[in-house]
Amino acid sequence: MRIEVDPDRCAGSGMCALTDPAVFDQDEVDGTVVLLDPTAVGHEREAREAAHLCPAGAIKVVE
């Protein structure tokens, strides 16, 4: 499993950083998604949840 993010699509809602701060963070300046761990090892369920909750469709899980 691999996570891909698209900061251009990101609306900065923070749902990903709220769901799993070990995998996702937010840019200090514009609040857009920062991917900390593209493999999300041990956090697969949370990463999928974050992708599902993302309001802007900016997170993709590639199996």
């Binding site: 609306a11 900065g12 923070g14 609040g31 857009t32 909750l53 309001p55 802007a56 469709g57």
Partner: protein, 399 residues
Amino acid sequence: MTETLHPELPLERSSALDPPAELGILRETQPISRLRYPDGHLGWLVANHALARAVLADNRFSNRSELMHTPVRVGGKAVPPPPAAKPGMFINMDGPAHSKYRKLLTGQFTVRRMNQLVPRVEQIVADHLKAMRAQGPGVDLVSAFALPVPSMVICELLGVPYEERDSFQRDSKTAFNLENDFDEVMAAFERIEAFVAELVRRKHGAPGDDMLTGLIESGELTDEEVTNMGLLLLIAGHETTANMLGIGTLTLLEHPEQLAALRADPSLVDNAVEELMRYLSIIQIGPTRIALEDLELGGAEIKAGDAVTISVPAANRDPNRFDRPEEFDIHRPATGHVGFGHGVHQCLGQQLARIEMRVAYRALFREFPDLRLAVPASEVPMRDQHAIYGVQSLPVEFT
């Protein structure tokens, strides 16, 4: 698909904490149905979770004000067609115009920034609880606690002098009351706008460590843009959370076994907040979007120009998304609710709202272990005729 015409968006509730029963029937029988808008427009009503998410995430739907049809009457009359959004009023814009403004603010409302704010929110909450105790039993929890806490927080963030709150609190209340004449509502909005515009002028000479100053100093915005962005944050920042704190407290008091569980394990508060957002769904009107092209949605043929109103309360009680949706259960996984919306317009201040609610509920029920209603629950006046649902007042007792 059989089509029934629903003459108006259902707003009448038979139970204070539950959405209008008609919405539940629509969700099960016709999750997308025709809706007659007061201005004569024939549009649609979406009443389930999957379709609500689909519409709100689809950029073929617009939120531009000049295309809008309003699904409720204001002052008993249809709302006239609104003008295009003023510069900076990005909630009523689409695409790059919207994201240009939003991205100037999202860095200020990140999860981390909001977590850093917790100690200050705790202090504001503690001060108000102390003052509430001093007022004694019979005090109105809304005016002593639920309204002033988020008002003070957003004032400090924006750089609005809190001692000038009376006018904008009153105007904001007027602006969302559907029973008021439309002219009265517009005048209230204009007064808040003038208030923020004057503040922006003052900030040029007396900058502060606050968001309005930050926007001015970004050098990317006109004063008019800063004013409208500030106006949006000021109103959205206190009216919504204030109502959640009031009706959320009523909900917990009315579910003593849930409240006991929360008191026994305060770490449940994060989840309790999500569940309150789901269960209460205080945004009782809209959001509404306008189709920019012909498209198919849940078997319905939507035409370009059609208005589609989402029922947040119906979506958040969808049994296909939430088990036993009619039950208030602070243990359930409640994430995925659309209480903060969905799509690129999803609530900008949601992480602020979360920490305000977490801190406030935790402190309230810790400091007032025997908090109870001072009137029968059936006598608590509800905000049936407001765009944002809640309690008008909440008299409480304690020892």
